[in-house]
Symmetry: C2
Subunit: 266 residues, 2 copies
Amino acid sequence: MVIWVNGDLCDADAPCILAGDRGLTLGDGLFETIALRQGRVRHLERHLARLGRGTRVLGLPTVEQEARRAVNELLMASPMEQAVIRLTVTRGSGARGLTPPTDPRPTVMAALAPMPPAAAPVLAIVAGRTRRNEHSPLAGIKSLNMLDNVLARAEAVERGGDEAILLNTAGRVAEAATATLFVDLDGIIVTPPHDDGALPGIARGLALEAGLAIERPIAFDELQRARALALTNSLGVRAVVALDGVSLPPGGGEALAQRLRRICQA
Amino acid sequence: MVIWVNGDLCDADAPCILAGDRGLTLGDGLFETIALRQGRVRHLERHLARLGRGTRVLGLPTVEQEARRAVNELLMASPMEQAVIRLTVTRGSGARGLTPPTDPRPTVMAALAPMPPAAAPVLAIVAGRTRRNEHSPLAGIKSLNMLDNVLARAEAVERGGDEAILLNTAGRVAEAATATLFVDLDGIIVTPPHDDGALPGIARGLALEAGLAIERPIAFDELQRARALALTNSLGVRAVVALDGVSLPPGGGEALAQRLRRICQA
């Protein structure tokens, strides 16, 4: 497997990142997870737009051209039909400490990974150990600071689940560790708003634009009495079949997931 | 400058990290910033104890022996009298996604940097753009997820300061972007508790153990009417001379800093 790093192709088993890269030392960077299906890069413009918003929040220079080149050259070097493209952008190397270099030279990298089974039903667990910080600008961008999500997922697995749902610091529902949450509340499909800590997901945006769902705050007890839950991210749509070990009404999650799939995977 | 990475010495200008290292892709790791003064590594046991607590929170194997070896071999290769040692531990490489490898092989690295001027007085700014998440286990460990701190510091610099003070999500005082905050409230020296989002700093621990300060929640308006403020971290103690552009009573911060220095730099 090869990885594209700042214009060079690098073997995945060979070191290609400096130890002083701020992406590594401080989590000072962004990423995108992009689906490649039938040899087509899915929703690249939306991913690049979100990446662009992230670079503005971080005060990074524009990396759009490098990101396009990374994806193109990676796929030329490793032509595939189905895969996950992980695009990573960091502020590049810097001296020790928080203060960014005045003239940052971002690291741009792209890697391929196998596409996971998108339709597998989800046993969701509401994480008790951590909360999503809706007060942070990081809630609105796809930053490299994913350790809360890693810990939430690990908790879900420990408790017999396979994906975590994160509440925000006010106790309202924010999102899943790697997905947007859609909730059927009395027949209305609802997803948490950005102000409650939901990442502006690509599939989420498609569902909202299509009018399939609305944004509104979701209390924890509303989640518990939901008819159906489904999760979306750029790799697919999944029905939630159990929440905290309690089965949800059969078929509801899959029906919701199918409605979302028609839009998100169109 | 050389860097110690997993037993090898690597030139700082040469790539020595895999693109798939979870420290880079997910911020899945920890660090310590350790002072070297008069050729002596300061408070190494306390740093290793905190690192050990961090590895337990993350479910990483113990890395104490590797960390000791990293520091020793780095200093043998680059003998210095005064420097900052940055010790970084990540979960090592993994496949795409949050799920950790079942048998993680951590990356351990150590690097040297020049010691910054420790006694420089601080113009502190209370960050308005982000908050410290006291609900996250990351608040209790020194993780690689430092981007909130990077953004808070950048905001402080934009607003004419040089260090940021972070409030937590409840609006109480948590800490500075790279330091513990000590506040003189009517003659009592107070520092925020862990439950409010304060990192268990090494200098902080020394000041508390010596009885110089107590832990208790600090409201934002208490901060604003404080007689004196000072910041500690492993690199030194600094007086705060202005808060949000308003000068503090002259001499108070430096007097507090001197009391802290006698303990923290003993």
